[in-house]
Amino acid sequence: MNDAEFSLLQLPGIWRAKEGLNVSGCTRQETGHRELDKALNGGFPPSGLVRIRSHLGIGELSLLQSIICQPKSQKLLVFVAAPGLVQAPWLKQLGVDLPQVYVIQPPNDNEALWATEQCLKSGACRMVVLWQTALQPKPARRLQVAATHNHTLCLLMESLQSSRLSLPVTLDLALHPSEQSLYADILKQQGGWPRENIPVRLQHTPDNSAIMKAMAAASPIYSGSSQAG
């Protein structure tokens, strides 16, 4: 190893592809899903822009419960341009402190980007969740720089229906439904290799299994009908 190469490897943003990024220096945030954490070198990055591509409502936010609710932090959690009204009881069930949450409903995409950048730059937020379709690389770069410099995590929620543009992000995830629950694809991650079809178990809605079980136990007729249904 010559001197030039050695000094290059001292830089935090440079790593050998076969070894992966040395993550001992920075703290990763565990998602609580073992397989996913392993594939992500220990968890989510502490800051930067993270894109999550999925259909609306497959549990894409509940999946990140342990990252969204951090009871010790006094910083703000901001939702920008959500495709609906964010429900306070849901936040409470997740374990988020309600006074720390702000919801911003900007009139158009440009204002949404402006508001997100302000939130990231202020240093008052620990996480900003932005819903935006077809974000262009240039504004994405702005958000990425603002988020990394201010040690804030910015989640970009993108619909699977829009075509995928390559963006300068710290982590690029896609979520697909599976028989069991969900598959996560890591399309791109800083300091690691992409990986596909990581199984994630998630139970974020109540179901009728208790009733089904009770009915099946009571009468064999019902057990047949529940399988058909």
């Binding site: 259909h55 409502g57 497959i58 509940s62 006094q74 936040l91 911003i104 809605t205 109540p206 179901d207």
Partner: protein, 461 residues
């Protein structure tokens, strides 16, 4: 220069109104036999400021009466100043109930007047203060506009001049004698007074009047002493009712501890020691000493300790007032570096919300609030209180503002959950809610309206 003048017209009442009251409440000045302040319920009963006690008592049989003390108002004012000192540094205390704030020196920092004003307004609203305000190029001119209840923030000199000229001369600080003298030479409104050159006035009137008119004009501002936060924390709070249970003291303690936290944050210190004094009507005051293992600066930590201490004691008599003082102030040690982060954030949060509101409008920057109603849509009559109802299983993360017809095939995984409510207001709801999964794996909250078919209302993100 641009000054903001705040007139806190019901300071005693604001301090007492920590919890919603059942009976109307008034603040009474016994020496003058004059009602000084009255709450909304009292106003609804027909009571007005300036009435005598007998008249007020005849209008409402059940009145809660607080006595007016100007030094208590001054204490409250100092608490407000400590709170606002986090946002603006140039504050002038004008006891008993007025503040003047110099705005122009902060315009660059806040990137304009509107964000600065919104930040101030949010802070005052959070503290639950009521006030009239006015702005001007000097403390005196802002004061005249605040007294006239202008309640607009004017920045352009022409606009301020016009507003001043349209204000009645009664709102100025001129004494009756001075007004009479002016009246005798034909000066009956502010417009003529302000348009007279100072040399002309000098020939006829006393120096005091000329000094005042010059200050009003903004040509020669009068010197002011800026507010400096105190070295040690000490607050005294009279209760609006006599508390005979310790649990009744908790809300008062919360607000006092909150003030203590603001004080500590401002000075970059923490304390391991808090003195609490409970005052009774006849008995000697009870002194409590709350100690922590290490110096702390967070409200939650102190709150837990003080509540524990308070629960243990037995009150010998009803409490009429409480006082809170900090012990020795300590420098925060290097290990608790989150202390600084927190301080840093508080300013930034105030500034960020002000900036967002200024550009997008306050109605686009919201905080989700719980309502004590099972309906998923916001209920028109704002019941956004903190009374929580038992939670339903499985709340959707997002709800559509208007439900839309279900158009894709899906399979029901949970339900039904029948909601039959709101028959007493304009939004009656009778729906069977289900959770359904589509072929793409989306969890939808759907409902069936009797006769109208299936609708999608929310998403389980």
């Amino acid at each position: 220069m641009l000054w903001l003048y705040l007139d806190f017209y019901q300071l005693t009442l604001d301090a007492a109104l920590h919890q919603p009251l059942q009976t109307p409440m008034i603040v009474y000045h016994p020496a003058d036999n004059r009602i000084m302040q009255c709450c909304q319920q009292a106003q609804a009963a027909g009571i007005e400021v300036g009435m005598g006690m007998a008249q007020a008592a005849s209008l409402s049989p059940s009145l809660k009466v607080l006595n007016y003390h100007s030094d208590m108002e001054a204490q409250q004012l100092s608490a407000i100043a400590h709170q606002l000192y986090q946002i603006v540094s140039d504050i002038v205390l004008l006891p008993p109930a007025h503040l003047a704030i110099r705005l122009d020196s902060h315009l660059r920092y806040y990137n304009g007047l509107t964000p600065l004003w919104l930040t101030l307004k949010n802070e005052l609203q959070r503290a639950g203060r009521h006030y009239h305000y006015g702005s001007g190029w000097s403390v005196e001119s802002a004061k005249v506009l605040a007294r006239a209840r202008c309640n607009r923030l004017l920045a352009a000199p022409a606009a301020i001049r016009q507003q001043l000229q349209n204000t009645a001369i009664e709102h100025t600080d001129l004494t009756d004698k001075q007004k009479q003298a002016l009246n005798r030479v034909g000066i009956r409104n502010l417009k003529t007074l302000l348009n007279l050159p100072a040399t002309e006035l000098g020939k006829r009137f006393h120096n005091d009047l000329i000094r005042y008119v010059c200050a009003l004009n903004g040509s020669k501002p009068s010197p002011v002493t800026f507010f400096r936060p105190a070295e040690n924390f000490h607050r005294h709070q009279e209760l609006s009712y006599e508390a005979d249970k310790t649990a009744q003291l908790i809300p008062w303690l919360h607000s006092l501890l909150n003030e203590l936290m603001i004080f500590l944050r401002l000075r970059n210190t923490c304390t391991a020691h808090v003195y609490l004094t409970l005052h009774f009507r006849d008995e000697a005051p009870l002194k409590l000493d709350v100690r922590a293992a290490t110096a702390m600066a967070h409200q939650k930590e102190w709150q837990a300790l003080v509540e524990l201490k308070i629960e243990q004691i037995v009150l010998p008599a009803p409490v009429v007032a409480i006082a809170l003082a900090s012990g020795t102030l300590e420098e925060p040690n290097g290990q608790s570096n989150d202390f600084f982060e927190d301080r840093f954030e508080y300013f930034n949060q105030m500034q960020l919300i002000g900036r967002l509101q200024a550009r997008l409008g306050a109605e686009r920057v919201l905080q989700p609030q719980e309502q004590n109603d099972y309906r998923y849509e916001p209920v028109p009559r704002a019941v956004a209180n903190n009374v929580s109802i038992p939670a339903l299983p499985g709340y959707p993360a997002l709800c559509s503002p208007i439900p839309f017809p279900l158009a894709q095939p899906c399979r029901i995984t949970y339900g039904p959950l029948r909601l039959h409510t709101g028959w007493w207001d304009e939004q009656p709801v009778c729906r069977d809610y289900y959770i359904a999964v589509t072929e793409t794996g989306q969890y939808l909250q759907i409902f069936k309206d009797p006769g109208q078919g299936w609708f999608v209302h929310g998403w389980y993100c």
